[in-house]
């Protein structure tokens, strides 16, 4: 299995801070999520990190077993 991590308001939307998912393409993983959550995760302001590394072009990545994919909305500031 792989793990999705939701930060900030995305955790509220996902109903949990983390979620276990089957490995596969990120596209396929998102397609299995509730539509509202998937749309929020794909917002252009949401950064995505794999195993602690920010991804420049996350659109087409393969998520392997044991990977941790974090979804990082804009930080809160001041």
């Amino acid at each position: 299995m792989a793990k999705l991590v939701f930060l900030g308001r995305l955790a509220d939307l996902a109903g949990a801070a983390e979620r276990e998912v089957a490995p596969g393409t990120l596209e396929a993983i998102l397609a299995d999520l509730p539509v509202e959550l998937a749309v929020a995760l794909l917002d252009e302001k949401v950064r995505i990190a794999r195993n602690g590394e920010l991804l420049i072009n996350p659109g087409s990545i393969m998520v392997a077993a044991g990977d941790e994919i974090a979804f990082l909305p804009p930080v809160s500031g001041g």
Binding site: V5, L7, G8, R9, A11, D12, A49, N51, G52, L54, E68, A70, L72, P73, P74, V75, S76, G77, G78
Partner: protein, 147 residues
Amino acid sequence: MLDVRLLAQPFNPGAFVGPFTNAHPGLGGVCTFVGEVRGGGGVEALELSHYEPLTLPGMQALAETASSRFGLMGMLMLHRVGKMYPGEPIVCVSAAAEHRRAAIDAVDFAMDHLKSDSWFWKRELRGGVWSWIEPRDQDHADLRRWG
């Protein structure tokens, strides 16, 4: 010396700033900023979440950047995470340098970046309801000051 920490419990800034200062014999000045949770507007509590693999390494990188940009002798950077209450310190940044301008500017620089360019998400409790704090335009203006 760079001393960068996330703290999950209330802390007393003086207990860190004193030893930090003493660790730099020969310094000319130390500038320190301590931010506290404001209680105005009915805020009952604040909760900061972070992402372990990015937040602390990001702060460490910021302290290194500030230290080399301003030629510091050392920087102390402390940030609370978790739930905190009005009047509690949330952030403490200290810069030790040979000259005061470097120390003051380094703290100004580090605070602008910590506040708007670090991996923290905040929510406030008001009237029993939690709500997330969104980014502010002012933060981006603050960052642009540093080119």
